[in-house]
């Protein structure tokens, strides 16, 4: 028996190891391979609104509610990991893990033109292991905090002596702030649990600019700018669920999360190739050091969410999140910092899991279905206009046939921006995949 268990455990560990390696490699990839400004690359640019500051906030979306596009602040599902609320980590009976990746397409238009950008991204990796089943859980995760992936092309003219020169600026940026986080969740009473996480937050932004001129007298100018910084940050969560009643598992779940702001010193470096005395050299373009360091401050976040389980198979969730971007800082560019404004997001989602019902008939009963909508006031206010994002998410889940693992697919459509003051309006559509692993590593088989 022991050898069988050992064999199972070994296979489980191997599975997780494979998943972990895959997740890490994909996680690192966006900062390296996808950050390369190579015209032959595809799927590396996202929203044009990720240009200002240190990127656009990327919300934590727990695998539990990924199919509705909601964070999952107030929803526990024993088979899917939930990164959004540390309080939920206490409840897991067996280890769960997930990683999410997706491809998002942004079709932007304003009065000047249009652009189409695609971004492939690994959204997050999350693993929760119960240290004490249903009482104390350990969470390890990697997830983005902000993301900046844009490609911007602008044209202009200037006069230099006798010349009127037309020039084009092609600027590409990649990177953002990411966190590697470890946390614990602890159940205090039968229904109430709390959790906290501490994370290492790393900011890595790389912009590459290519300027070319209509006059052959001017040789094209190419330079790159990078921002680097690290700091520690924390998140806290509280979760409450009512006790099960006959005929349905839970009546109500409610969650609260809070993430204080963190300040980070960013170091900026600017490099370019220059002809110096006839020889081309790579030089630091910021040697006067007047603007090499600057503080960034993230927005403190408060979120609340709840889920009502109507029966064993139908769950209705609602969430509200508030981020105080008005307090955020980006010292390296006051103009961009001035665009920050407080952000609130509300979402509503329904999940239907027919396979949970006692009676299961047919192929379509073995799937998970979900739909969610969200309204996001955005973290930028430009010329008095909030850069609003509205999204509709459709989800489809395929549970494992002989396990509680599953793979979920999401299809997102939405829009961002307002059609005023020449601001770009983006049409967003994307597809995402969430691989959810729920295993028995720490569960003694029932037949023993």
């Amino acid at each position: 028996m022991y050898s069988i268990l050992k064999k199972i455990a070994r296979r489980e560990v191997a599975s997780y190891a494979t998943l972990f390696v895959l997740a890490v490699s994909l996680y690192v990839a966006p900062n390296q391979a996808f950050a390369q400004n190579d015209d032959t690359q595809v799927a590396k640019s996202g929203s044009i609104y990720s240009y200002p500051g240190f990127g656009m906030p990327t919300d934590v979306i727990g695998a539990t509610t990924v199919t509705t596009g909601l964070a999952g602040i107030g929803m526990y599902d024993p088979t899917t990991s939930n990164l959004s609320n540390p309080g939920i980590w206490a409840l897991y009976q067996y280890s769960v893990g997930s990683f999410q990746f997706g491809l998002t397409n942004h079709q932007a238009e304003d009065t000047f033109g249009s652009a189409k950008n695609s971004l492939f991204s690994l959204d997050q990796f999350h693993f929760v292991a119960p240290l004490v089943k249903g009482r104390l859980g350990l969470s390890v995760s990697m997830s983005p905090v902000t993301r900046s992936n844009f490609r911007l092309y602008q044209e202009g003219t200037f006069t230099a002596g006798p010349d009127n020169i037309t020039f084009g600026v092609d600027e590409q940026g990649a990177g953002g702030m990411s966190r590697l986080e470890v946390g614990l969740g602890y159940r205090i009473t039968r229904g109430l649990s709390v959790g906290a996480a501490i994370g290492s937050y790393v900011t890595s932004l790389d912009n590459e600019t290519f300027i070319y001129f209509s006059s052959l007298r001017y040789t094209p100018v190419v330079f790159s700018e990078s921002f680097r910084g690290t700091d520690l940050g924390a998140r806290f969560g509280l979760f409450y669920r009512t006790q099960p009643k006959e005929g349905r598992p839970y009546d109500l779940e409610v969650g609260l999360t809070y993430q204080p702001s963190l300040e980070m010193e960013l170091e900026r470096s600017k490099e370019g190739f220059k002809s110096i005395g006839g020889q081309t050299q790579l030089v630091n373009l910021d040697v006067d050091q007047s603007n090499q360091f600057g503080i960034i401050k993230t927005a403190p976040e408060f979120a609340v969410g709840g889920t009502v389980t109507m029966n064993r198979a139908t769950m209705i969730s609602a969430e509200w999140m508030q981020q105080q971007w008005g307090e955020a800082k980006f010292e390296l560019d006051a103009e961009e910092e001035a665009m920050y404004s407080n952000r609130s997001k509300v979402g509503f989602g329904i999940q239907y899991h027919p396979f949970r019902r006692v009676t299961r008939n047919g192929f379509f009963h073995n799937m998970k279905y979900a739909v969610g909508v969200s309204h996001d006031s955005g973290h930028l206010t430009i010329s008095g206009n909030d850069i609003v994002t509205n999204k509709l998410v459709l989800g489809l889940g395929l549970p494992g046939r002989r396990s509680t693992s599953s793979v979920d697919f999401t299809f997102t459509v939405g829009s961002r921006g307002v059609d005023r003051d020449n601001l770009p309006v983006e049409t967003i559509w994307g597809v995402g995949v969430s691989l959810n692993l729920a295993e028995i590593m720490f569960v003694r088989p029932k037949f023993q």
């Binding site: 296979r11 494979t18 998943l19 595809v42 799927a43 240009y51 200002p52 990746f101 932007a108 238009e109 304003d110 009065t111 000047f112 249009s114 652009a115 189409k116 950008n117 492939f120 490609r151 911007l152 202009g156 200037f158 230099a160 002596g161 006798p162 020039f167 600026v169 092609d170 600019t209 300027i211 007298r217 001017y218 040789t219 100018v221 600017k270 370019g272 220059k274 002809s275 110096i276 005395g277 030089v283 373009l285 040697v287 006067d288 430009i382 010329s383 002989r402 396990s403 793979v407 697919f409 003051d421 020449n422 601001l423 770009p424 597809v431 995949v433 691989l435 729920a438 028995i440 037949f447």
Partner: protein, 412 residues
């Protein structure tokens, strides 16, 4: 029986990979466009700055007037650049390829071929007398201002140049006889004796009747030279066979009188180095705006008003199409600009009638390394025998937009 509950990562990974790949193909390439200009003002980061060239100091040098590409000859009174009289000097070679001896039956003549460039009154005819030179001379030692005497009693002939570009001067028998003595002599001292005894021809303009200069093409480049189409001493025998002799030495004895017009805020630049300019400019961190330079350019403008206004109708000057900047920190400035290579050369921008030097690399040297203090000299063309001369607006020109200046384009 142990239930098989092991999750198969590979199946999921494969499914996900295939899906991702299909999506990548479906989404296709990016199409970046002009979007976001309303809130991203990056073009404002491109900044230009102009600052003046501090000083232009007129400099002059007595340079060489022999063994150049062409031999100037003629007379012209240029109101702006002075009255020039140039006596052409040539000496036929002894080391002919085919000519070893001239028979009495042969016709011998000096064929002068001009390159078509004119300086002065294009509608006039230039008159010349050809004399034998009375003193030994060497082209490599001739300088502007030198005078070489000729023997007025030994006149070889005369010719006039209107629009034709060739003159033919038959050689007198006396000269042929003496010349035959040298070409048939095989002793080693022949060459030096020849230089002393037969120093060559002086082609002397008739100052009273000539109002233009022409330029003798020596055909000194052996490759591709057609003997019959360039300046040669040639003989023709009774069968119509030609033999050619190149010129062994050539040069010009040039005299220039001061001009009537003496500009005060514009500066002369002459390819003979009779006038060129020492330039003083200075880079500062502030004037260069930033360390991310797109271009730093120094521009000098021709004073076209003065150039054109000083010439009567139908008169022309050889054009200046090229300007140079030399660095000369030590030694004789005239020798260095004549023999040394310029650090910058630029072709005239005819749209602005100016010369634009790209100093970006030098400015970067100032920003990122050590730019040593140098002495910069602005010259035009090369000293090639022709008279290519211009006038450039100076730092005090009343036309402020034409003052020499440096334009910096940088990204802040």
């Amino acid at each position: 029986m142990m239930p098989n509950r092991t999750f198969r990562v590979n199946s999921f990974a494969q499914a996900a990979s295939m899906l991702a790949f299909a999506l990548l193909l479906f989404v296709g390439c990016e199409e970046p466009g002009v979007v976001g200009g309303a809130f991203i003002d990056d073009e404002g980061n491109l900044v230009t700055n102009e600052f003046p060239v501090k000083e232009m100091t007129p400099t002059s040098s007595v340079s060489y007037s022999g063994r150049l590409d062409v031999v100037p000859m003629g007379h012209y009174n240029d109101p702006l650049f002075g009255e020039i009289t140039s006596v052409g000097l040539i000496r036929p070679d002894l080391n002919s390829i085919t000519l070893n001896r001239i028979d009495s039956t042969e016709t011998v003549a000096l064929k002068l071929v001009f390159n078509g460039t004119e300086y002065g009154d294009t509608l006039s005819t230039a008159f010349f007398d050809v004399y034998e030179v009375a003193e030994p001379w060497r082209g490599k030692q001739l300088r502007y201002g030198d005078q070489i005497s000729y023997d007025p009693t030994k006149k070889i002939g005369s010719f006039a140049i209107a629009q034709a570009d060739t003159a033919l001067i038959p050689m007198p028998e006396d000269w042929i006889f003496r010349y035959n003595g040298f070409i048939s002599d095989t002793t080693t001292a022949t060459d030096s004796t020849y230089v002393f005894d037969m120093p060559g021809f002086a082609i002397v303009p008739d100052v009273s009747r000539s109002q233009k200069m022409v330029f003798l093409d020596l055909g000194t480049d052996a490759s591709g030279t057609v003997e019959s189409e360039t300046t040669r001493l040639f003989s023709e025998d009774t069968t119509g066979t030609f033999q050619y002799q190149r010129m062994a030495d050539w040069g010009a004895a040039v005299q220039r009188e001061a001009s009537i017009l003496q500009p005060t805020t514009s500066y002369k630049a002459m390819n003979t180095f009779e006038a060129f300019q020492k330039i003083d400019y200075e880079f500062t961190r502030e004037s260069l705006v930033s360390q991310n330079l797109a271009r730093v350019e120094m521009i000098f403008y021709e004073d076209t008003e003065l150039l054109e206004g000083s010439l009567p109708g139908g008169h022309v000057r050889p054009a200046v199409t090229r300007a140079n900047i030399h660095i000369v920190d030590e030694g004789d400035v005239g020798e260095e600009v004549f023999a040394g290579s310029p650090v910058f050369t630029t072709v005239k921008d005819t749209s602005i009638n100016g010369f634009r030097f790209n100093l970006t690399s030098t400015a970067n040297l100032f920003l990122f390394d050590t730019l040593q203090t140098h002495k910069y000299y602005l010259t035009v063309e090369t000293n090639n025998g022709s008279f290519q001369q211009t006038v450039l607006h100076g730092p005090d020109s009343p036309n402020e937009s034409k003052r020499p200046h440096i334009i910096v384009t940088a990204i802040e």
